[in-house]
């Protein structure tokens, strides 16, 4: 079968257009809401810029995932899965159930498994999104300080897990420390940006500090790997 058939590109293009329409809908609606509740338009516009800049490096990494998966699955299926709903880790694992995809039955089965695996992610938020939001409002209305600390604790819980994750291969020797060195490099770059901001008072630094530090960390992974491996 032709895994890169024009009709597959057409279907994926239509689905992605629908999801993009949803994103545009919520962007416009939220922007308008921000204006209605008195938020400064400058803050809203800056958020658009920051989110756009922040997204570039991770989006290129996702594109790399598409290129990798396209060897086995053609371009349209990985394009669909990684543009919407999916995650690189799941799609890679799900496609790993077969070594090669040559016949149509295998292709549709892999596409089916990828889709069914994410069905809870698609529908559960629709059923419980409202309850979770009401729950958060209740927590915050009971005790505002605790409500804010609760949110901070949520973030810190996630960040602490990824901090641990970085150390998840240290048993393999120096090679396993590459993610740790990248983590520390990126953290150092961010700290330098923070210091630079304090000293120079250049506010624009805040817009680019995180994406810049992330790219510095990623780029330094190249010499670290060549020195260590």
């Amino acid at each position: 079968m032709d895994k890169n058939a024009a009709v597959l590109y057409l279907i994926v293009g239509i689905i992605i257009a629908v999801v993009t329409a949803q994103a545009v809908f919520f962007l416009v609606r939220s922007y308008r809401r921000g204006v209605v509740i008195g938020m400064d338009k400058k803050v809203l516009n800056k958020t658009i810029l920051r989110a756009g800049v922040f997204t570039i490096a991770p989006a290129i990494a996702i594109l790399v995932g598409i290129v990798t998966l396209s060897d086995k699955l053609g371009v349209p299926l990985p394009w669909l899965r990684l543009s919407v709903i999916g995650s690189l880790s799941y799609e890679t694992i799900a496609s790993g159930i077969v070594q090669v995809v040559e016949d149509a039955d295998t292709y549709v089965t892999v596409a089916f498994i990828m889709t069914i695996g994410m069905i809870v992610s698609m529908f559960l938020p629709l059923f419980i999104g409202k309850k979770i939001q009401r729950g958060m409002i209740k927590i915050q209305s009971k005790d505002k300080k605790w409500g804010e600390l609760f949110m901070t604790a949520l973030f810190m819980g996630m960040i602490s897990a990824f901090l641990g994750f970085v150390f998840g291969a240290v048993n393999t020797g120096l090679k396993g420390f590459i993610p740790v060195f990248v983590f520390l490099t990126s953290a150092l770059a961010m700290a330098i940006c923070g210091l630079l901001l304090k000293v120079t008072k250049w506010k624009w630094i805040t817009d680019y500090a995180l994406p810049f530090s992330m790219v510095v960390g990623m780029l330094m992974a190249i010499p670290y790997t060549s020195w260590i491996v």
Binding site: A23, V67, S87, F167, A169, V182, A187
Partner: protein, 243 residues
Amino acid sequence: MLKHRNFDDNTHLFGRIWGIVTSVCIIAYPFLCMLIFDAGLNWDLVLTGIGVIAMYWVVSVVETFTYAPMLGASGTYLGFVTGNLSNLKVPCALNCMEQAGVKSGTEEGEVISSISIAVSSIVTMLIIVLGVCIIAVLTPLLESEALKPAFDQILPALFGAMAVVYISKNWKIAILPCALMLVVFIVGSFVGGEGLAQTLIGVMVPVGVVVTIAYTRIIYKKGWLGEQGYLKAETAETSENTK
């Protein structure tokens, strides 16, 4: 008589409508392929994949309860459809809320979170469309051995930069969960091998969240968070206003 719907009610209504429409489109793909190629499911392969499906159903439940409170209503409805949550949408929303000086869980936080996730989704789709259009040119570059380490290390690079901001501002809250996770992953790597971390991360995010919430509650009740970052800022702001 029609019930008066406020902005929040409409957010949930629109979120659900869009969620159903987009989910139906996404689910339709394998079935349309069956029709186009006159193909059927290979049930042996489906059975092989059931373990993977079950694992990701559990991960999805956990992600919904962990990320939905952070992202707000609109952000949740959009973020879960566009995917790539932990490696892109959640960090992006957190960074934008931090930079805009708004707190998650407030109306302003909801607006910023929603805008950032929408923009991030649109930019991702544009970059990927562009990449797909010139994939033949890009493939040798993106698959080059020289660049591979950079793309392999995106999560450490992303969370390194984020950690320095959040830990420095909330070190009293961070100290226990960070120490716990370091121990879990380091011991896990020696006990279960290097591949274990990939499996563990899905489970340890909610575990980290629950432990951090419980620990924060305890130290909050004991009054140990008086000097914590935002409380200091709040106190300074109050004294500014009083002056």
